[in-house]
């Protein structure tokens, strides 16, 4: 039977072995200590792979995975946050934060107007808090606007 734990165990084994393989590629320096730079990461990787084997041999009950719709919301939020990470520096604090928090708020409680207000409120409120009370050096807008 294909349980979540078995799939995860397989991923763990493949990932750990790939880690061990890339640790084995570490070039040895001229002067090395007796243990060297490879041994410890390789050992830990092997233990992790063993854990993966254990997960396949004795899997737990499946968790309740969210329905497709909630999964979609999670993917949208992840993409949004990745976009936010790229946008924060070039676009300044206010605009990306307003958009990101409005969309996140909508994902948690799908009502457009409160979500919009949450976005605006959080973006302006947090900007004032960070910039003027805590004194962080944040740029509110793209730097070439003013």
């Amino acid at each position: 039977m294909l349980s979540s734990d078995r799939v995860f165990g397989a991923i763990v084994i493949i990932g750990s072995l790939a880690y061990v393989a890339s640790a084995a590629q570490i070039a040895a320096p001229f002067f090395s200590d007796p243990l060297g730079s490879k041994a410890f990461p390789m050992g830990v990787g092997l233990v992790a792979a063993l854990c993966g084997v254990m997960m396949i041999l004795s899997p737990d009950d499946d968790p309740d995975w969210p329905p497709l719709r909630a999964l979609g919301a999670l993917v949208i939020s992840t993409v949004l946050l990745v976009g936010y990470a790229y946008a924060l520096k070039p676009l300044g604090f206010l605009i990306p934060t307003a958009i990101a928090s409005a969309v996140l708020s909508y994902q948690i409680n799908p009502r457009p107007l409160p979500a919009l207000l949450t976005g605006l409120g959080l973006s302006i409120g947090l900007y004032l808090l960070f910039r003027y009370i805590l004194g962080l050096s944040l740029f509110g807008f793209p730097r070439d606007w003013f």
Partner: protein, 504 residues
């Protein structure tokens, strides 16, 4: 009296108006964070760390602020347990068992007061225990060499899953994952890049603050999105808050016993507050027997786990301060705080930075009194917090976490890592893989490798050196037992399950 003079030094630092103000502020923020459903001490402190550092506070001030937040969140956690039956954090789970029934029986005020006083007793007694035990343990720790430290780290990782995790393989994997992430970056011995995949951003390694914020805070946001913010509505009306003196007095022996048990559970590596509240509740339940009415909302059932988890929180500081090995998730976060402040916990901390240690202990004692005042007469203010809808709260938490990390490192790459750790944390928690060992692995993995390599240098590659002292053999044996024992104990001790809460 060494302790008294040291304590005087500590209070001299902690009682300055500025530090006192930080302690009060920290307690206030902490209680709010703890009271928010879904946010507990570890994610609360995690969000606050980056912000605190960007403020440029000095070491003692930052430590006082963050530990006050930590203690405050421990106190605040019981508010959502009792009124909503939603524990903010795992240690607060046991408080639901009797706290929520008592609140439903029309006595929410009494439940909050009893648990507040219980938190105070547990935390204060364990802080006193910390004062006596920590210096003794740090004397022992002076004899630790690389082999002993390596064994100690192994012990911490082996026992961390403990009784809390359902599956030993998953807990161990979580530790390995953390250590594997810690290996990324420059090799400290040779100075060459390892396992970075050629990505220049990874040459400095993965910052544990990034991992903590992602695994604890951002993954929590994902859980809220999945649940669409459904939470138990506050249907309990809190009217007048009075102090039920007689009932409090009737729990005096419960509190005394639970303080001791909780403190010991906290000192043990890897056990922490969850085990503390679990053990105290179970033992008080069996002492009271069938007639005790545990589970229906009795005072002792509220007092025991609340004393236990706060006593364990204090106890967990002992191995963290003296050995640099945290006993629980929240102490792991506090260790991250110390490391970021350039303070290395360990036996030398007590001789080299007595101002830090005793200032911290004094401020913990002060924080307890402040928290007692805030949590008994002023508890109604914090109850209001529960009305804050998650659709506003959770985006706010996300943005604060992101800005904190961004202000600290100024790199978009770290923000991407935060998102990645958030997704990882969500998947791991879904699959019942504990996330605390991952953090601990990232924090301690590098040190663990360094101790092993130092041991091999000292012995010129002879593996038997690792088992050459009594202390290290004892630690290795304890690590082995600590890993094996839960597999058998778990069959005997069954965790009581929450009836209708969202226990995690």
């Amino acid at each position: 009296m060494d302790i008294l003079s040291n304590l005087a030094l500590g209070f001299g630092i902690a009682l300055s108006p500025y530090t006192l103000m930080l302690a009060v502020l920290g307690c206030f923020i902490g209680t709010i964070v703890g009271a928010l459903p879904g946010l507990g001490p570890s994610n609360g402190v995690a969000i606050m760390i980056p912000i605190t550092f960007t403020l440029g506070l000095d070491a003692v001030a930052a430590l006082v602020l963050l530990t006050s937040i930590y203690y405050g969140a421990m106190y605040g956690g019981r508010i959502s347990s009792i009124l909503l039956n939603i524990p903010g954090d795992e240690p607060a789970m046991m408080t639901c068992l009797d706290g929520h029934p008592m609140a439903k029986n029309g006595r929410p005020g009494d439940a909050l007061v009893i648990s507040g006083v219980a938190s105070f007793v547990g935390a204060t007694l364990s802080t006193i225990g910390l004062m006596f035990l920590a210096p003794i343990l740090s004397n022992v720790a002076y004899q630790f060499g690389p082999a002993e430290y390596f064994a100690l780290y192994l012990l911490a990782f082996c026992t961390l899953g403990g009784l809390a995790a359902k599956n030993q393989a998953k807990a161990l994997f979580a530790s390995c994952l953390g250590i594997m992430i810690a290996m990324i970056g420059l090799d400290p011995n040779s100075g060459m890049a390892r396992l970075t995949g050629g990505n220049l951003h990874l040459y400095d390694g993965v910052d544990f603050l990034v991992a903590i914020v992602g695994l604890f805070a951002v993954s929590e946001v994902f859980f809220f999105i999945e649940k669409h913010g459904k939470q138990g509505a506050l249907n309990i009306v809190l009217e007048k808050v009075t102090v039920p003196w007689a009932e409090l007095w009737s729990t005096r022996w419960t509190m005394a016993r639970s303080s001791v048990i909780g403190f010991i559970a906290g000192v043990l590596p890897g056990a922490g507050a969850s085990l503390g509240s679990f053990l105290t509740y179970i033992s008080e339940k069996s002492i009271a027997g069938e007639k005790g009415g545990f589970g229906t909302g009795v005072a002792k059932g509220i007092a025991a786990p609340e004393v236990g988890n706060n006593a364990a929180a204090g106890g967990a500081l002992v191995p963290m301060l003296t050995l640099g090995v945290p006993g629980s998730g929240t102490t792991a976060v506090l260790l991250a705080v110390l490391v970021t402040l350039n303070i290395t916990p360990g036996p030398t901390l007590f001789t080299e930075r007595p101002d830090v240690v005793w200032g911290l202990i004094a401020s913990l004692l002060i924080a307890n009194f402040v928290l007692l005042a805030m949590n008994v007469p002023l508890v109604k203010i914090f109850v209001k917090i529960l009305d804050l809808p998650p659709a506003i709260l959770m985006p706010g938490v996300t943005m604060v976490s992101f800005v904190g990390i961004f202000a600290l490192t100024g790199s978009y790459f770290d923000l991407l890592l935060v998102v990645a750790f958030g997704v990882l944390g969500y998947v791991l928690r879904k699959l019942d893989v504990p996330t605390v060992p991952v953090i601990l692995g990232i924090l301690l993995g590098g040190k663990m490798e360094k101790q092993l390599r130092d041991a091999m240098v000292l012995s010129d590659g002879d593996w038997t050196y690792l088992f050459s002292s009594g202390i290290s053999i004892g630690l290795f044996a304890a690590a082995f037992l600590g890993f094996i024992a839960p597999m058998f104990l778990r069959r005997i001790i069954r965790k009581p399950v929450l009836t209708d809460g969202q226990g995690r």
